[in-house]
Subunit: 272 residues, 2 copies
């Protein structure tokens, strides 16, 4: 037993079942600068799908488009099973508040994953053990305090001296919940948005930043995740380009045993 | 002038404007084994958005979920502007045939890209010039014949001797239209699905395969593309994992001058 009371993360991503319309609420614990942490929003959407009575199989892909800021308070999730096949499902979710315009638009694919030929071509990044690395100090944003970030490479140097040449956007770090919680689909979804903006690393400073679209692929099913039984992932993230106010990010989330659990990519706005 | 008559690709991805419902039609020229080439479907969806009277800005991100096979013939595109902000738009498109279930579900983000700090961190892969490499011989699928693939690395060896160890899933190749056509958003979208299945490379054989979800980010706007004025891209593609019937792919599309035009990722079903 890791915790006796519900974990903060589970509180933050709680949903109330409806027919096609589910309800959720933003969490102060996972608040970012101008709205809820995008990873928590994505995980809340995923939870509504996982809890849905028509759901079959495990999450395979989730794309979340952040269309507009979400205000503190309640929101509705319009959850629609767009197409179901023999072994896969396609979903569409729209998040709205008080009947206003869509604030978040998501599509998801669920699949019953059958045994197959298996090959992990990507190499486990490897790292010093979690226990041997100091946690990243708590920072202002509430959501950051909910995670235990332990940087192996590419530790943030925000507010450092501005140099002429851009710094590397690569980071390698352990990510766990501040209060340990077993890694499941929900935490993988949230952690795939828990990297600091790559632009902060490249510029060595905080600038206005917002994720526009986030896609995560799950490479482990529920059985695989249960077998890993871990409370942390070894994560790497990098960027390829920053151009005309938008930059990309790609990342990998690994189990400590060296299993690739999820890959993720996003495109984000920045002002610099 | 590259061609005087419309390019095959433009015929294949033609759309007829409607109010919210647009029409398209599958193309024999871009047919795959059991349905239209996914890249052509994605490009057709993108064309409906580009041609839409409410469209503002350039494509930034497009995610296409292939929900069910598309039959030969006409299809409808239900095009919906979900949310428009000052400088970005969020779209949702559903492809149906004869009023049946959704066959393809897509979301797109358009943005007016403003000048900013710019940094291309990814390194140009580089390659021998297009002219010095032999074209990949025409193969059975019609869509493959519409492209001029020139492999630099990871040339397909399908039907080769099965070895114990999986082969690399990495490929580097030039991609152009068989009949040269200037690279635009539509061709980038289509080409981002024009890699052969990574599983074919890893296994050195053709197996049942289908893209499930495809996401492409555009890192150049219309002005940047016009400045490149090229008819081909240098493309790289790789995979990280094949597991329980699904495998990923990530790719980059570069201009010959070394500008990163688009990045793409997909998750695909395979049977092996």
């Amino acid at each position: 037993m890791l915790t006796k009371t519900p974990h903060l993360f589970d509180d933050a991503t709680r949903v109330t079942a409806g027919d096609s319309c589910w309800q959720g609420r933003t969490s102060e614990d996972y608040w970012a600068f101008v709205g809820p942490f995008g990873g928590a929003t994505a995980a809340t959407i995923l939870r509504a799908l996982l809890d849905h009575p028509q759901r079959a199989g495990d999450p395979l892909a989730l794309t979340v488009n952040y269309c507009a800021p979400i205000a503190e308070g309640d929101f509705d999730l319009d959850v629609r099973l767009v197409k179901a096949n023999r072994s896969s499902q396609h979903w569409c979710v729209e998040l709205t508040q008080a009947g206003a315009d869509v604030a978040t638009l998501a599509t998801a694919v669920f699949a019953e994953r059958r045994p197959s030929w298996s090959h992990q071509q990507a190499e486990f990044p490897g790292a010093k053990p979690f226990e041997q690395i100091l946690p990243y100090p708590k920072v202002a944003a509430p959501w950051v305090k909910q995670y235990d970030f332990r940087f192996v490479d590419g530790s943030p140097e925000f507010g450092g001296a501005t140099r002429d040449a851009p710094a590397s956007a690569f980071s390698k770090l352990w990510i766990g919940d501040r209060v340990p919680r077993n890694i499941d689909f929900l935490s993988l979804m949230s952690m795939s948005d828990a990297f600091f903006g790559r632009i902060f690393h490249a510029r060595r400073e905080l600038v206005p930043f917002g994720t526009v679209s986030l896609t995560t692929y799950f490479h482990a099913d529920a059985q695989d995740l249960a077998a890993e039984a871990t409370t942390r992932v070894l994560a790497v993230a990098d960027a390829k380009i920053f151009h005309k106010s938008y930059g990309d990010q790609n990342g990998e989330l690994w189990s400590p045993n060296g299993r690739l659990l999820a890959t993720t990519t996003q495109i984000a706005y920045f002002k610099a």
